[in-house]
């Protein structure tokens, strides 16, 4: 598996199986940080978290501590949280508002646009010292799509629009649930961690095979309330599908299951909401958006969007991961609709929710299982024989099929091997017209 001290990623990732070493190996983890999280686009946060000039929040891109901040000029920036003098972090609180970031070590002051405002006792530096040369270093690249802020440590690479590809339509569905087309990501944060690899979380987020088993108790509870989601959405006879848009962006597509416009039945003022949506988008688009109920998407590598939620995954070690869940609010709707979103989020998610903790339990059990590698392979072949491709190249399968997992690993291998193209296309099923 290792040649000249480097890892042979083609040997670890096959189209129908992966080697479990990809979840445990410290060297692979280090390569992931450089190649996946630093060279590519990583999600940082949503601009609605910092609406006012001076609003900031601490964030990470890979191992880089940064500050996402809206400057006095209104522009959102990603600045290094590192003093140019001796590397102290200049911002300590998770979020807040500041005109200046001051380094507490020797008193250097930076404006909230990152420029160096003052150094202490400046007579100690000669004329060659120019303050303009010592601002907080911005991330080499920043790009936003509908307020979703992405950063990259690499100065060059694919544009965000090209990287997102068709996945951007799903981000639209998520945001267009607001009749103003805007979400507010300040609905609180459910924070949890688990003793397992970060990829277990993104794979599980896009796994339509597990819910009836892992979430048996949750569905049992819903059954007591008279709701029959399990068979409609997740069973072998479900009409939902998996989609792989390329670049590791994959989704569980439940739109065909949600045609009844369920949100309107449970929320007070539902008809008022529909009217506002139709006024904004027209009847047809409003109907599509309402029935979609958001999306169920992975934006590779670290952003998941499920229903009302943004999920941000932060790898810390091969066997340790931290996850922040942001239940979002919709702008321009009645308070009852947002409260329905919040209460629904609590019922499943968070460290005391009725669903998500059982997923984490699976991750920790897998991390134990990896230690027994008498047969190190994990099988991802489910549904390969019935996978099809639509005209735009999107791969589609049954909701329980591992189309999504294969899509994630195809991108992971592309990035880890440094290839520009996907050399495995020869193994892909033949191109079929979309249904």
């Amino acid at each position: 598996m290792t040649t000249n001290g480097s890892v042979d990623y083609d040997a670890l990732v096959r189209e129908d199986r992966i080697h479990s070493r990809v979840y445990t190996d410290q060297r692979i983890f280090a390569d992931e940080m450089e190649r996946v999280f630093h060279r590519g686009w990583a999600f940082v946060g949503h601009a609605s978290e910092i609406p006012e000039p001076g609003d900031y929040r601490l964030a990470w891109v890979g191992r880089y501590p940064i500050i996402m901040v809206r400057g006095a000029d209104g522009e959102v920036r990603l600045l290094s949280n590192r003093c140019r003098h001796r590397a102290n972090t200049v911002c300590q609180l998770e979020r807040g508002n500041a005109r200046f970031f001051r380094c507490d070590y020797h008193g250097w002051m930076y404006r909230n646009d990152g420029t160096l405002a003052s150094v202490s006792y400046p007579e100690g530096y000669d004329r060659s010292f120019q303050k303009a040369d010592f601002g907080l270093i911005p991330l080499p690249r920043i790009a936003t799509y509908r307020g979703f802020v992405f950063g990259s440590i690499a100065p060059d690479g694919m544009s965000l629009v090209d990287y997102l590809g068709p996945a951007s339509d799903q981000i639209d569905l998520f945001c267009d649930l607001s009749p103003l087309g805007e979400i507010d990501a300040r609905g609180g944060i459910h924070k949890y961690s688990y003793r397992g690899n970060w990829k277990l979380q993104i794979e599980n987020s896009m796994d339509g095979y597990h819910p009836n088993f892992v979430h048996k108790s949750f569905f049992g509870m819903m059954g007591r309330r008279g709701i029959k989601t399990p068979t409609r959405h997740f069973g072998g006879t479900s009409i939902a599908v998996t989609r792989d848009f390329g670049h590791g962006h994959v989704m569980l597509d439940y739109r065909e299951c949600n045609r009844s416009g369920q949100v309107l039945n449970v929320v007070q003022g539902g008809e008022k909401y529909r009217a506002a949506m139709e006024a904004r988008y027209g009847a047809a688009r409003a109907n599509d958006v309402i029935n979609s109920g958001g999306t169920h998407l992975l934006v590779f590598p670290n952003l998941v969007m499920i229903g009302v939620q943004l999920r941000v995954i932060r790898p810390i070690a091969p066997d340790y991961t931290e996850v922040y869940l942001y239940p979002t609010l919709l702008k321009g709707v009645e308070p009852e609709l947002n409260q329905w979103r919040l209460r629904g989020h609590e019922s499943f998610f968070g460290p005391a929710g009725f669903g998500a903790p059982d997923d984490l339990e699976m991750f920790e059990r897998m991390q134990v299982g990896f230690q027994n590698d008498l047969d190190p392979w994990m099988i991802l072949s489910r549904g390969m024989h019935r996978e099809r491709r639509e005209a735009d190249g999107t791969r589609v399968g049954h909701v329980t099929d591992e189309v999504t997992q294969r899509g994630i690993w195809r991108e992971w291998r592309r990035v880890m091997t440094g290839r520009d193209d996907d050399t495995q296309t020869a193994e892909a099923p033949p191109l079929l017209a979309a249904d």
Binding site: G187, K191, V214, K216, S217, E322, F349
Partner: protein
């Protein structure tokens, strides 16, 4: 003759014992029908109209929490957490129709060879019921409610 505070302390000790001994049905019977079991998220004063909570159970959801814990399929509690909790610093104030109670709570939780400590200030609204009390509100202000928590599926 026990003082009011002693009677309420006895009630809190009893509640703690029911949780630590996994006597869920008896614990449920301590609550009123219009109860709220509330664990704020991110800060003690987070607004439920604008922010998600860690727990925000009305009576129906509290019943569901116990249903889930006893369903045999709540994997995050298989094996289940063993807990032992201390209640102290109890303060009692009489209000219209009940009592506003504050206490400190320290919970040791053991699961899969790992022991965690949780600390909280707990606010109760208690109502008199015969010679005992019922819980109308239990608001648990976890010291670490703004930190990543692995698993809080046991009762706090």
């Amino acid at each position: 003759m026990a003082t009011l505070r002693e009677r309420i302390e006895d009630f809190l000790f009893h509640e703690a014992k029911l949780i630590d001994e996994h006597r869920y049905d008896e614990w449920l019977a301590l609550w009123t029908e219009d109860c709220l079991y509330w664990v704020p998220c991110n800060s003690d004063d987070a607004d439920p109209a604008r922010q998600a909570m860690i727990i925000y159970d009305n009576r129906a959801r509290l019943d569901e929490r116990i249903y889930r814990l006893t369903s045999g399929a709540a994997w995050a509690q298989q094996p289940r957490s063993r807990t032992r909790r201390l209640i102290s610093n109890v303060e009692v104030r009489e209000t219209d129709g009940g009592y506003a109670v504050e206490s400190n709570c320290l919970i040791a939780e053991l699961r899969r060879s790992r022991q965690d400590i949780f600390a909280a200030r707990i606010l109760y609204t208690l109502r008199p019921a015969g010679d005992s009390f019922r819980i109308a509100l239990k608001k648990v202000l976890l010291l670490n409610n703004d930190e990543a928590i692995d698993n809080l599926t046991f009762l706090v």
